[in-house]
Symmetry: C2
Subunit: 168 residues, 2 copies
Amino acid sequence: MTGTRWLDDDEQQAWRGLLAATARIDRLLDEQLQRDSGMPHAYYMVLVALSEQPGRACRMSVLAERTMSSQSRVSHAVARLEERGWVRRDPSSSDRRGKLAVLTEEGRRALREAAPGHVEQVRRVVFDRLTPAQVQQLREITSAITAPADDDTDEGDTPCDGANGRSL
Amino acid sequence: MTGTRWLDDDEQQAWRGLLAATARIDRLLDEQLQRDSGMPHAYYMVLVALSEQPGRACRMSVLAERTMSSQSRVSHAVARLEERGWVRRDPSSSDRRGKLAVLTEEGRRALREAAPGHVEQVRRVVFDRLTPAQVQQLREITSAITAPADDDTDEGDTPCDGANGRSL
């Protein structure tokens, strides 16, 4: 184990802090969305990603990237959302084998109704606790962490179809 | 929906950055630990938490808090770790109904062998990308997020049995 670059005390505290903060955020966002809107945060992110696309439609593979999820998990989520009538699956016009996930009117309404409570929880759990300077710092820190490494081959912020938008 | 405190552009970018960074960290830490040590990050955290306790033993309920997990998930993890011989379950001497999870010698060895590769990955994915000032900022930001709210009743950094220690 010689040569291992162990974390020093500051790094150790930052690392444990990051693990604890993300666990807390995950738990409290899920609790609020499940309680008030009957969906986990992962489903909410699928609805948001679709709502931001032109035609509110997106290929499944791209939807997985946009929601930072695996293909199997996003397929599972879309199947559940389809059962609720919030998403439907259409054949893709540009890709014979591909399927498009499409946000339905009911899905838009569910998202619209869930959003205010969700953003209030995001504020309560994260932004009400940070100064404006810390918000900037968090932006720069997370941007450094998500920047592709030189040897990354699997990264990139792939747009669903070149759109941009806002979820909150 | 009047009165909703929507996120401004800076907050929106910080929030999306945080979601993307934590998804990336989760994925890359799991990939490395699965590939090189045959365990997910959640199991690694259980081994670390136990290794830091006096007698390397901890009540299941406290272990769930220490690993920021639910009781059902930590029970599942401990059952899997027991099958590998890395953890065993003993009756608690102080609590008739309770069970203690205990790190075995094999578990200590597995943790010792996994740690150098894991810390190298933590450096690669997080700390090699941050300046020392950003490490301090991250510490303060995550500390603000994890501080109990005035109306929190379920929080607190409960020690397994009053010990402290280091995982990396």
